[in-house]
Symmetry: C2
Subunit: 325 residues, 2 copies
């Protein structure tokens, strides 16, 4: 009744924003992402009659449990497995929590896979993705391998993620530039609720299926220039939706803009690099693997950058043999 899983964070190239069903976490639109090799969560779950309540510890800090999203998620899994035992959950992120590095994606993916295994459930990848989605929407994308599409779906059973290309298909890297370890000003799940207050949101939805198809085609063709332009345009469109929401959502910092301009500059000088930005202050720089060292050299000269995290495309969430307790 004890199991451990490692789940990667993922970077969305087409962003998930807005839910058509709050409870089931059905997204307004499909999205597209890549799992990240160096941003991950390890979670060990044990169900046991010896526990009188759920105990959850994240990065050595115990969480207040009452009604928390993690406890609700354990309840879903207990319900599926028809068990009642309370759980001990120890979880470690190898990166800061709540700063926009998608700890809820890797966290709920790892929790889903570890808890399902510990509860004795034998679930398919699709079933795990559906389950992870209910914990945190983008967590469903951290279940399958490599490059992943989340089909929006109109029901819980049709809203899940699947691998569209294996990790080694497209040789790109995501260099996360950490400019701050402050917590972001607003949790993503709160911001999401205002998606429809942007006057432009409906138009975004009208066009997004076509955009997803174009990004998939660019990956299939290994056309990095086309891919890069599409994802950078998407990042700006996404943040334009945030800026025009009521109240406006403002995740950028001065450093975000500085790095966006840095990307435009190095690209104009021949180093092909594109950016994408999530709901956090860090910026993800996407280059082809062959250009990674050149990018690293350039980044050394940017004073604002506190740290970089280099990520290759990675597999999805896996059960592993060694436990955290």
């Amino acid at each position: 009744m004890k199991a451990t899983a490692i789940g990667p964070s993922n970077i969305a190239f087409i962003k998930y924003w807005g839910k058509k069903d709050e409870v089931l976490r059905l997204p307004e639109n499909g999205s597209l992402s890549m799992n990240l090799s160096n941003l991950f969560t390890t979670t060990t779950v044990e169900f046991s009659k010896s526990y009188t309540e759920d105990y959850i510890e994240i990065n050595s800090i115990s969480e207040s449990n009452e009604g928390s999203r993690a406890v609700k998620h354990l309840d879903r899994i207990r319900s599926l497995a028809k068990i009642t035992e309370k759980a001990k959950v120890i979880t470690n992120n190898n990166f800061p929590t709540g700063t926009g590095l998608s700890s809820s994606a890797s966290g709920f993916a790892a929790l889903t896979v570890a808890a399902a295994k510990a509860a004795g459930l034998e679930l398919s990848e699709k079933e795990l993705s559906i389950l992870a989605r209910q914990g945190s929407g983008s967590a469903c994308r951290s279940i399958p391998d490599g490059f992943v599409e989340w089909l929006d779906g109109n029901t819980s059973d049709t809203s899940f993620a699947l691998s569209i290309f294996p990790p080694d298909y497209f040789e790109i890297v995501d260099v996360v530039t950490v400019v701050s370890t402050d917590k972001k000003f607003l949790a993503t799940s709160e911001g999401q609720q205002s998606a429809r207050t942007s006057p432009f949101f409906e138009k975004r939805l009208d066009l997004i299926k076509n955009k997803i198809d174009r990004v998939k085609k660019a990956i299939e063709d290994k056309n990095f220039s086309e891919f890069g332009e599409l994802i950078e345009t998407e990042a700006l469109e996404f943040h334009s939706i945030l800026f025009t929401s009521n109240p406006p959502l403002f995740y950028w910092t001065p450093e975000t803009v500085r790095l966006m301009k840095f990307v435009q500059k190095i690209r104009s000088e021949g180093l092909e690099c594109y950016f994408t930005i999530n709901t956090g202050q860090d910026i993800h720089l996407i280059v082809q693997e062959k250009d990674l060292n050149a990018l690293k050299d350039r980044l050394k000269k940017v004073a604002e950058i506190k740290n970089i995290i280099v990520n290759s495309p990675a597999n999805g969430t896996r059960v592993v043999g060694s436990h955290l307790f």
Copy 2:
């Protein structure tokens, strides 16, 4: 045959972006602005048979004339006045040119009024506004007094600006924070041509008439909170149109974001201040006159600010008696 005019720059609270007629400079949408007391252009024009070609000097630097916008504008005025004399034009801005402080608005307003007078034309305010518009769209708003609306119009004769409230009606000030005197990366008139490439532009146009009416009502009611929220929302919407254009138009700098956050911070602390941003890196801070000193005190602590320019609502462009040559 010599005349001098002083024309103010203006700050748009509802922005002008996109033209439905490039040649006549008919805008896609109406806009709303305030003339600025401390950003202005002084221009002296003399038509004389002794000049063999047009000579134009801006801030002591002679401009290359061939086909320039200023020469075309002189041609319009010569054509109206049925004269053929070449002109000498000396013009001074009291602020840096081409950095987003609307030198083309004040410049073409002053040129229009001075040249029309020097050419012996007796034009109404409306006629001067129509004429100024053909030189540089937003210049038409610098002709009438105080708070000004530019009616978009479908013909040249119906696209002009008029005063909606006198300068002393609404006691606000515009504190321009100068963070850089670099030239902006793209002249506004070039950027304008891409307006319709934003997927959101059409929706903006659908909603803008209502927004203009709400801003006018807020000024009429002297409701500063309503006014401030509307203009800040508009500034973010405007820049969202720019971010989502193809190619994306990016006028913000790191300092722009820093100041936007500064405004949000001081407002949360009780100093009611709002921002608006044009196609330049400087940010306009709008406060009620009674809060000006409090704002100045706060601004002293912001290292990035090189200079501030405090503007009250001002009259439009006027003929004056003293000449620059």
